[in-house]
Every structure is written in structure tokens, then in C-alpha cells.
Amino acid sequence: MADLNVNGQVIALDEDGFLEDAGVWNEEVALALAATEDVSELTEDHWKVINYLRNYYEQFGVAPMIRKLCKETGYDLKKIYELFPSGPAKGACKIAGLLKPTGCV
């Protein structure tokens, strides 16, 4: 996938459009990533999900299970898909700058 241009800074993405280097993430990068996932603006609701994901990851080194994400943010899965049309893994995790979910497909 093409790299990301954030305010002139070129940020490397992998084929799936995830950050090559998670360290470069910031709120502006998030906004730019959002655009690649059909999310035109990041509302408070979006940030609640993003922040929860980032905090959880920081603490446990893994992304939370979906059930946990829904429980803790108070949004059901439907709402999550409304916020992030490509879903929690491809959508929300990507925008939150988390690692690409591996494993089960």
C-alpha cells in the first residue's frame, strides 16, 4: 500500500496499510489512517475506542478481546462497525496504531 503523507512527513505503511513503525503514531497520524479506512472524522466516540485500545495494549502487550472492548467502551459491536466500517481489527486497531492482528483468519 502507498505510504502515508502526514503534513509532509512520509510514513511507511505495510501492504495492509498498518504502520510499519508503531512508534511514529500520533493523533495526526491517526487521522490520516482513518481516511484510509473510510472514517472521515474522529469523533469523541472514535477516540474512546482508540484510547481504550492503546491503553490496553500498553498495559498487556496485546489487543483486547472484542468482548472486552465492547464491555469496557460500552459500545456494542454494531456501534463499533458504525464507527469503524472495516471493524475493530482492520479498522480500529489500524487507526489506533496497534500491531496488525495475526492468527485466526
Binding site: 508503531a22 502487550g61 500491531l99 492468527g103
Partner: protein, 352 residues
């Protein structure tokens, strides 16, 4: 906007009239010849299903070819079986033989019914997957070429279900087949620290190892593998691109036998290891095809009529199986994983 969550097409749209009319009212069936099932309904209606082998990995040209045949002989209706065979649903008895001739003219074998070898359930292999220890379609082609006669004839003691999975994930569900070919690794993963650092949830990676062989290495922010404990399952690679396990020099194929899933007579059973390793020798894997043929032949000439492969082996005893086939028994045949205990011979009764 596409429709979301509309689900698959309704099957009733796909059924030929004779089935719609006799839905749930079939009375019995016979197999007039290999590859043909004749189902008779309560009202006497007769449906002929002509079963044809398919390589499963097919082009749209192939599908269109089959559609042309179905249009000509079956009014545009056909189905596929749970083992990837094609079934032409012929309601006009007179069209059965012409259809078979047409298929054979195209090099499509007819068979797989009754006491035959059916198509080999298999997987992606080098064609599309990221974790294979071997190819799938290639081995399947080689084995089916070799055992062709058992597909087109019904000369086996019972049904013979062969499966192929290109890695231990066993997408081919080889774990309960009469004969299973499974791609196996034989060396531990090689940790690529950079890839692990960048692309991996370390806790999930550590947790993924069934034998606890992986420990985090806080210094490198990566992991280390205790090679003694690794049994090459590849589960860590599924979790992380940094755990490369494919090893051309040592990957290959294991053979397991004796599984079944039907409940007829005996309970469903797992397939069991008889050959722990055969080398990857593309394009025709001669060691594998030979081993499979040998097992099929010993089975065919020793089992009783109606006996599935596993039923036969359980009756004569596995110790006898190794004698009859001449396959060498080694410590690798003896389970040393979680449920090993139930496989140990806790009895003084056995054959020499």
C-alpha cells in the same frame, strides 16, 4: 450500496424439479454402476446422480464446461459433494450413459461411489497459504493418478476417505480420515528478532506454544525458543511472521491412517501415525504415492468385506498391521503429547 448480511442464495432456487417434487420423500437408492447413484422416491420417481472427479482447484473455464454438460444432460442443475466431487443430477435415465461418455471424453473420471476411493479432501499448499510444509494439490494429483482405478471401480472392502493437509493446522481435517497425508516440519522456528519486535504481540506469541518452548527475551524485546521442547507444530508462526519454520531441507509429509467419522458400526475415530516422515519430492512425491498405494493394497487384500481401514486394523491389532505392511515401528509412533496415556498398552494381551 451492496446488501449487507443478505446471506447465501436460497437452496430451493438451486434444486431441479424432480428434487423439489420428491424432497424428503426418497425411498431408497442403489448403485447401478460405479459413479452412479440411483435414488428412487416413494412415488417411484428416479433420480440418477453421476459423480465426477474434480481437481477442486479449477478455472472458470472448467466450471463453464461443466455447466455446459449440466445444461445438456441435467436441465441446468448440478451439485458438488462434501468431498469436492461434482454430481450431475440426471432425471432422464437415457441420458446417463451419454453424460458419462461426454465426461470421459473430457478426461473427467466418473466414480467415487460405494466401496471406492473418493476424491481427496485437501487444502492450499504452495498455491495460496503462508504456513505450508508441502504442497497439497500436487500430491493429491500424484496420488489420484496412481490410485485412479480405485476411484472408478468399487473393488475396495469399504469406502476409503483420503485427506491431505499441508500443515499441522490440518485444514483438510485429515485427523479423522482412512488415510491422511499431512505436511510436517522437523526443525524449530528461527526467530527473526526484528520481525518479532515490529509485528508481534509477544504475550500472545508466548501463549501460543503448546509445549511452553517460547520465552520472552526482555533484552531483545523478542523471544527465545527452547529447541528441546519444540515439536515443530508451527503454531507460533501463525501468531508471528518472525517465527519462520518452513525448512526446505527438512519439511515433508507424514502418513496417518485409520480414522473415520461415520458412526456406522464403530464410533468415529482419529487417524493414527504410521509413517512419521517422507521427503518432499516434487513434482510427484514418489515416496508418498508409493506408501499410500502400499497401504491401500495391503488393506484391500486383507480386510473383510465392509470393513473400513481403521476397523480392519483395530480387529487385527496395530502390531499386526506393522508386520503385514512391513512399515518400521519407531519411538516416533508412540505418543508423547497430552493424551498419550490412553494409547499405551495397559494390558498383557497382544500379538507378537
Amino acid at each position: 450500496m451492496p446488501r449487507i448480511d443478505a446471506g447465501p442464495p436460497h437452496y430451493k432456487e438451486m434444486l431441479p424439479p424432480i428434487i423439489l417434487e420428491n424432497y424428503g420423500k426418497w425411498r431408497y437408492h442403489v448403485i447401478p454402476r460405479p459413479g452412479v447413484l440411483k435414488h428412487v422416491a416413494e412415488n417411484g420417481a428416479e433420480l440418477y446422480s453421476v459423480r465426477a472427479g474434480s481437481p477442486r482447484l479449477v478455472s472458470i473455464d472448467f466450471i463453464r464446461d461443466m455447466c455446459a454438460l449440466a445444461d445438456e444432460y441435467c436441465d441446468g442443475f448440478l451439485r458438488f459433494t462434501s468431498r469436492n466431487n461434482i454430481e450431475f443430477l440426471v432425471s432422464d435415465a437415457g441420458k446417463v450413459e451419454p453424460l458419462i461418455s461426454a465426461l470421459e471424453a473430457k478426461g473427467i473420471p466418473v466414480g467415487g461411489t460405494g466401496n471406492s476411493l473418493s476424491n481427496i479432501v485437501h487444502t492450499q499448499g504452495w498455491v495460496h497459504c503462508h504456513t505450508p510444509a508441502t504442497d497439497a494439490s500436487g500430491i493429491v494429483k500424484a496420488v489420484m493418478d496412481d490410485l485412479h482405478e480405485y476411484f472408478t471401480d468399487m473393488k475396495l472392502p469399504a469406502k476409503l476417505k483420503v485427506a491431505m493437509a499441508c500443515c499441522l493446522n490440518m485444514c483438510g481435517a485429515a485427523h479423522c480420515s482412512d488415510i491422511a497425508m499431512v505436511g510436517v516440519h522437523r526443525t524449530p522456528p528461527r526467530v527473526n528478532d526484528e520481525k518479532v519486535q515490529k509485528g508481534t504481540e509477544i504475550p500472545s506469541l508466548v501463549a501460543s506454544c503448546p509445549t511452553g518452548a517460547i520465552r520472552p527475551n526482555p533484552k531483545t524485546k523478542s523471544v527465545v525458543v527452547n529447541e528441546e521442547k519444540c515439536m515443530y507444530c508451527g503454531n507460533c508462526y501463525t501468531m508471528s511472521p518472525g517465527m519462520e519454520i518452513a525448512d526446505p531441507k527438512n519439511d515433508g509429509v507424514a502418513i496417518l491412517i485409520g480414522g473415520k467419522t461415520s458412526n456406522a458400526r464403530t464410533a468415529p475415530s482419529f487417524s493414527r501415525m504410521v509413517i512419521p516422515f517422507l521427503p518432499n519430492n516434487p513434482p510427484r512425491w514418489p515416496e508418498v504415492t508409493e506408501a499410500v498405494r502400499h497401504i491401500v493394497e495391503v488393506y484391500a487384500s486383507n480386510a473383510r468385506q465392509g470393513e473400513r481401514l481403521g476397523e480392519w486394523v483395530e480387529r487385527i491389532g496395530w502390531e499386526k498391521f506393522f508386520i503385514l505392511t512391513g512399515i518400521e515401528f519407531t519411538d516416533k509412533h508412540i505418543d508423547d503429547y497430552i493424551f498419550s496415556r490412553e494409547t499405551f498398552r495397559t494390558s498383557a494381551a497382544f500379538k507378537f
